[in-house]
Symmetry: C2
Subunit: 126 residues, 2 copies
């Protein structure tokens, strides 16, 4: 059975305090800076579990690094993210969903999933 540990709680807290998407390493660094002695491996494990349970969103940065965020929206949605500070806006995109489905159907692709994210500079970082 799944156990509730201090470490997992700390990861949740730290992730919630983060402004936007953060990497596992950045999160671990900030936790360490705050006095925690949690290991990097445990941060990775916690984030991976949370993503699997749907409590946390993840996406690949343009550099191929996994970033994580405790999103407020529950359902499927997309992101507009500042590539400088990580600030993130959650956006619904019904037209995208339709478009994606239509394209897949048109070319007889099944079991489809789409990656749709927008990266830019927020007004503060611009």
């Amino acid at each position: 059975m799944k156990r509730q540990t201090k470490q997992r709680d700390l990861v949740v807290t730290a992730l919630t305090k983060a402004r936007g998407f953060v990497s596992a390493q950045a999160l671990h660094a900030s936790m360490t800076h705050s006095g925690s002695t949690i290991s990097l491996a445990t941060v990775y494990r916690a984030l991976t579990d949370m993503v699997g349970e749907g409590d946390v969103d993840s996406l690949l940065s343009l550099e191929g690094e996994n970033l994580y965020r405790a999103c407020s929206s529950n359902g499927h949605h997309h992101h507009l993210m500042c590539r400088e500070c990580g600030a993130t806006v959650e956006i619904d995109a019904k037209p995208i969903e339709e478009w994606s489905r239509a394209q897949a159907a048109a070319y007889n692709f099944t079991d489809v999933e789409h990656v749709v994210d927008i990266f830019g500079l927020c007004s503060q970082c611009a």
Copy 2:
């Protein structure tokens, strides 16, 4: 000045023969299998250069690996790709471009770029 080498030509040839998107490592493996003694580093260098010159498209797989393809379309476009065999369909997405711009503007984001790719199983792999 840029020099034309046998190795670069071989990479172009191998990439063109590939059905869809392939990783640098897969491409190198297939070239090696075909008798070439080109080094992996050179394959990476060639692909990186070609992407920079706009002759080759690249995208991040869902696992975070860089994949490459010699696309037929010149301009900006997106991809519907089989996650099993790499087979790829190039798709225009005017509505997506508009939508992307609109979202960025609405939230005062500048210097935006979007990642829009659809992954699934092609009819053969399904």
